[in-house]
Symmetry: C3
Amino acid sequence: MRHLLDFSGWDRARVAALFKTARAMKEVLSRPIKTVPTLKGRTVATVFFEPSTRTKTSFELAAKRLSADVVSFSGSSSSLKKGESIRDTLLTLAAYGVDAFVIRADAAGVPHQAARWLDAAVINAGDGRRAHPTQALLDAFTLEEALGDLEGRKIAIVGDILHSRVARSNAELLGLLGAEVWLAGPPPLLPRRPFFGARLTARLEEALKDADAVMALRIQKERLSGGRLPSEEDYRDGYQITEDRLALAKPGAPLLHPGPLNRDVEIEGTLADGPRSLVLRQVENGQAVRMAVLYHLLARRAA
Amino acid sequence: MRHLLDFSGWDRARVAALFKTARAMKEVLSRPIKTVPTLKGRTVATVFFEPSTRTKTSFELAAKRLSADVVSFSGSSSSLKKGESIRDTLLTLAAYGVDAFVIRADAAGVPHQAARWLDAAVINAGDGRRAHPTQALLDAFTLEEALGDLEGRKIAIVGDILHSRVARSNAELLGLLGAEVWLAGPPPLLPRRPFFGARLTARLEEALKDADAVMALRIQKERLSGGRLPSEEDYRDGYQITEDRLALAKPGAPLLHPGPLNRDVEIEGTLADGPRSLVLRQVENGQAVRMAVLYHLLARRAA
Amino acid sequence: MRHLLDFSGWDRARVAALFKTARAMKEVLSRPIKTVPTLKGRTVATVFFEPSTRTKTSFELAAKRLSADVVSFSGSSSSLKKGESIRDTLLTLAAYGVDAFVIRADAAGVPHQAARWLDAAVINAGDGRRAHPTQALLDAFTLEEALGDLEGRKIAIVGDILHSRVARSNAELLGLLGAEVWLAGPPPLLPRRPFFGARLTARLEEALKDADAVMALRIQKERLSGGRLPSEEDYRDGYQITEDRLALAKPGAPLLHPGPLNRDVEIEGTLADGPRSLVLRQVENGQAVRMAVLYHLLARRAA
């Protein structure tokens, strides 16, 4: 594995190998001293052309726990009008000796371009509506912890499917792992065609029925503005995950959310803090999974 | 000690033990190599819901000198409208494996709430007008260096007492250490009742007379706007610490200020740079005291 | 060497000694593990009163690769209206135990003042139009790599000479190394008198003719606003470095630019990415040179 852009070219063996490393990293994180010298002297750059606190912090802390040096670059793509200047920025950072680039961009495809420009490893930390592979990996890792093998499991993903790179990457990875993925949301927030073999429905009940797990997506409030789009109230009425609705899923089916949560919008508040919520487990696993990704990309590279 | 929120539950023995550690840390800071491995692999998060450069830098450098990893989160409480979402932010950081949270908030009580939500140690880095315990600890440490035992010493604190968490925490801690604390300021900037046994006066001379030490507080210029409030000129006329006024205190009585100074407002410029000013000593001691606080909270915790 | 402010007091032996260290640092940077423990426990502060991403990142990464701790302060000089408060900021940082200050300011002379106020080492990272010595050092280092000894070499520097601290510092250092420096640009962007023995011309061809190397400076687009000043189009027509114009220089003469590039303004796009461009080499060498500067200022200081 030279880069992590999306899951094309992946098979189940690669996922299993990565998750094995992630379990080892999780053991490291359970120790009082959570740092290992594995990537000492290596440099990881986080390059975020779109603001993010959580993903950036998760990656930077993952890199530090492996003893890597971290350098950060934040810019808005508006100030970087031309593709060439994103390239100049990346090549400049590369000239500082950066070994891995963690890139987020509001335009799809930027990490893929970066991988062509750079010798260093590139990790896609979210590009437009296209992909967010480390989120999907941490979700699948968390689901496997809860459910075991995902083959044949029904996973319902609920919310703004149309604009969601999380939905796309989850559909791609969970499909690869043999799960049956259902994507549910209000019609204006559904894509015209399903992707990666997932099933598409506007009927929440159909997606939740006998689901082994339910994942609610974050809603961008500016996408709930009435008119053709549902209002926030409509969204709650039709798609909020409540106790009653979750009862349609299998008994004890866990509930996931990539965060940050809009409390009492995507999920009923009490559920979010309840025993079936894996939201904080996802955060914790995210760090172990990102440490594993950095390890697979850097530690095994010819030094 | 599980958290440092304020001084309730503290006794002189605990202060003495902390100051003993702070003296050891100060010795470390006098070395050319100022780093010790004490907290290697531990993670300290600075979470500032109110901007601050100095306190944040002081804590982050204290953590780094103890070889801890540091992660920072800055947010305005305006973007965090509901208590739940401050809680979500903190629980998310906790899921990254943070061992100690250094929290500043413009709303009083946030660090106390955090201590209920989190298993990790919580350090109050200033909450509203309520408390700023590490500032009081560094002030008391600096006063003890200059004066020895504080029992029976008269300490004058001058300025905007009403809005000052520094005044409150100093009154609490210095009172505990047996000092006689006088709080002086213009009537609209005095609280209605004294706190923690300190004496309250609008007559600066009464507070300064035979004082063993004088502490001027930082004035928020927006609080000097005329009307019911004094103008900046009125403030200088009535409450600026000048050579002449300082002559009322005991000979050689030192002068403190928590910084940053509004030059020639709270203190006459020449005094601020003179031999009786301990302003830079306070900054230096602040780092040793914060290292000691981190050490007491983390190094002794069951690993 | 106690500070690096400009090149007054420097001789060729000092440059040679620094470049010898920089070559050793470059060897460190070629290793997979790019960190050495040389400055462990030392603290470097970057204090930027003017925004900059590249220079700041370059210095911070240089410090980290030497295992120093880094503390950053960014402020606008507008919020720091009085000289005293820049001084207070620096003295406060010094009280944290900072060993070296890397200072950038839009007002000329701030680093020189800082060197008078502080016991710590001061590195000028650019002050007004006055000096930017580490940029000149990395440029000269890169030129020596390409050309060998610079004695008698003709170096053409092209662009907005009037406002450029890069031009001034390069003229000073390259002059010291025996090079013949030509400064070319549109008349409104030329200073009235040449500096440091360099020759001044508005005729680009005169500067480029038989040059051993060509350096294009970054143009601030707000300086190309028409009127007395040239428009962007005028600038391109008259001073852009193109294939044809570069043919006036010696065969294979390399092309430098301090970055960031305004693509197709200062340099024809294809040239910027071509084999004669040393732009990325400059970035890479910048890190080695800054590591060498930190080493000469700190590692040899009495500990």
